[in-house]
């Protein structure tokens, strides 16, 4: 799969949110998604930009990319693999 072909199934906007809402929102959204779907997280909180990929991998999902979009805003792409 090349990155150009990646279209997120769902995008959540976590910009401006405080600790640890971005993490909690990401994990609850991932839980509700189906295997193979892709979640995009838009986020500007530096701690969670590093922590969300860590916890997604821990839960068996695949982190496809972590990209800086604009200033502190990052886009994290996660492929749902940990769910049944």
């Amino acid at each position: 799969m090349t990155e150009a072909t990646l279209t997120p199934t769902k995008t959540i906007d976590e910009r401006g949110k405080i600790c640890p809402y971005p993490d909690v929102d990401t994990m609850t959204t991932l839980k509700k998604m189906n295997k193979g779907e892709i979640l995009e997280v838009l986020i500007d909180y530096p701690l969670s930009v590093e922590r969300i990929p860590r916890s997604a991998e821990k839960n068996g999902h695949k982190v496809l990319s972590v990209k800086q979009v604009d200033g502190p805003v990052h886009s994290i792409l996660i492929e749902v693999l940990g769910n049944k």
Binding site: R15, G16, K17, I18, C19, P20, Y21, D23, V24, M27, T28, D44, Y45, P46, L47, V49, E50, R51, P53, R54, S55, E57, K58, V63, L64, S65, V66, Q68, G71, P72, V73
Partner: protein
Amino acid sequence: MTPIVSGLLVGVLFGFALQRGRFCMNSAFRDIILGRDFTLFKALAVAILVSMIGFSIMAMTGIITLAPKPFMWGANIVGGLLFGVGMVLAGGCASGITYRTGEGMMGAVTAVLGFGIAGMMTATGILNPLLKSLQNTKVMTADDKPLTLANIAGLDLKIVMLVVAVIIIVIWALLAMRNKSAAPSYGTKAKSLGEAVFKKGWNWFPTGIVVGLIGMLAFPLSAAAGRNYPLGITGGWINIFQSLIKWQTLVEDKLKVTALNWEGAEVIGIVLGALVAAWIAGEFAIRAPEPKILLQTLVGGLLMGFGAVVSGGCNIGHILSGVPQLSIGSIVGGFSIVAGGWTMAYFMFIRPMNA
């Protein structure tokens, strides 16, 4: 070096390290139960160990005089619990909301406002009677010294600190050798040292080392300014707010100290250091959560301010600076902060997530 310059210097370094290492104790403790993530907790443990060894050696060589905080069980427990509850609502500990103010996060700014206001109300204002009655639970040694893990057993504090640190390091090293963790598959490695320091988030290990070293630098510099204690946050914010509001009174009273003291300058430095770090890394932006959350962080800050002043220290004064000196008051205060934080995190995040 004047107290203001020396405080600013330590603060700028501390703020830079806090921002780069994303060093926040609210996260360090909460992540253990929310997601079983020990990254920041390990950074904190390294910082405490470096300080413990550093303070011990500096005390042995006469560079500093150790200054453990007194044990006031009622104040340490009640204040610590309320501080712990407050930091979860505020989305950051005392150092967390301070460095995030420098990142431009308005949720942290309202938390800091609540923290400073409630701190002043408790230190010199309407809530002071509550502080007095809670701090009336002070227990000292027979010769009126603050209780530490060393003097309750009749041992020398400097030596016990060194021994405790070495024992923890040996146990940790043995545990670490048994379970090695793999490198993550995503992300790119820094291409140069400059990029690693200024652009990328720091790993937990260098973060802990640097924070510990800054604590060691802070102790003698702060002592030279007449405040014999390492890093702190609570007293600094109170000092900044009081200087702003009561500057004229303080100057007219011809107090020996200037209105702004070492700790106040240190806290200003933290905000500046974090701002510079965030700016260089492209992580600075003025942003705000929804209004309801701004109110939540304000309330969290108010609880933190009351709790920290009653308890005689926040997570920095007690956990980062007091635990390395094995002060019973700081250890009890620290555990109470964790207990309050975990209880609140359970009801706010863990239970709703598993529902």
